[in-house]
Amino acid sequence: MKRSYVGVILLAAILMMNIVFTQLVVHQYYYENYGVTLLYAGLNVLLFPVALFIYKKEKNKGGSKGYEERNLS
């Protein structure tokens, strides 16, 4: 069975960026840099559609058939 780990790696990277941005949002809020807080919060929100896009694009790669198709017969 062929494997495709590109999507997994990309999504893991996005999740890592999410964690970093969330931390930055909290820190910058307490440093009272509210503009920067908004910037990072916006980036964090934007990462979600990107993650969805990557998921949709990558979910059928790898094996020859998807999970549902494999189990139909």
Binding site: R3, S4, Y5, G7, V8, L11, A12, I14, L15, N18, I19, F21, T22, V25, V26, Y29, E32, Y34, G35, T37, L38, Y40, A41, G42, N44, V45, L47, F48, A51, L52, I54, Y55, E58, K59, G62, G66, Y67, N71
Partner: protein, 174 residues
């Protein structure tokens, strides 16, 4: 008797272990990616409140002015005396101290350690929290001794027509 737990039950119509799971709980590559994308969504949603409060601060809604409240007449407060009052709501106890002829300071007097009421000791020129002997500097509100680590929130006061008014709560600065 020792092998009574090792016996395989005889074959019969089995009503309790007849569930064929068919690998439906298996976490495959796609399921893992779905989890990652979902976690990204959770992070996105969880930063929204921070963005909201930051936007609120940027628009200046945090620095709100309350209706001016008369604390006392100037002639009733001698230099070195203190007056208790409540500001901005009746549940926020506060204290006004006249440090010199023209210098008034006011703080919300809930101790920043465990919110005991802080009072003014005239002889020692210090604000003292009786619960754990926290002390605060009267001119700045900064903690000087004991458990509290954060300053008392200051209240801006204004002297007008021989009376002292509370105007607004100062921005909290750690």
């Amino acid at each position: 008797m020792s092998d009574r737990n090792n016996k395989i039950p005889y074959d019969e119509d089995n009503y309790t272990h007849n569930i064929n799971r068919n690998n439906e709980r298996m976490l495959d590559r796609r399921g893992f990616m779905k989890t990652l994308a979902g976690a990204a969504g959770v992070f996105a949603v969880s930063t929204l409140p921070w963005g909201a409060v930051a936007a609120k601060e940027l628009m200046g809604l945090g620095d709100k002015e309350y209706p001016h409240q008369k604390i006392a007449d100037v002639k009733d407060v001698k230099v070195g005396d203190s007056v208790k009052f409540h500001f901005p709501s009746e549940h926020d106890s506060a204290i006004l101290i006249r440090l010199s002829e023209n210098k008034y300071v006011a703080y919300q007097n809930a101790c920043t350690h465990l919110r005991c009421p802080v009072y003014w000791v005239k002889d020692e020129q210090e604000m003292i929290c009786p619960c754990h002997h926290g002390k605060f500097d009267a001119s700045t509100g900064a903690p000087t001794a004991g458990p509290p680590r954060r300053p008392l929130p200051g209240i801006e006061v204004e002297v007008k027509d021989e009376a002292i008014y509370a105007v607004r709560v100062k921005r909290y600065e750690a």
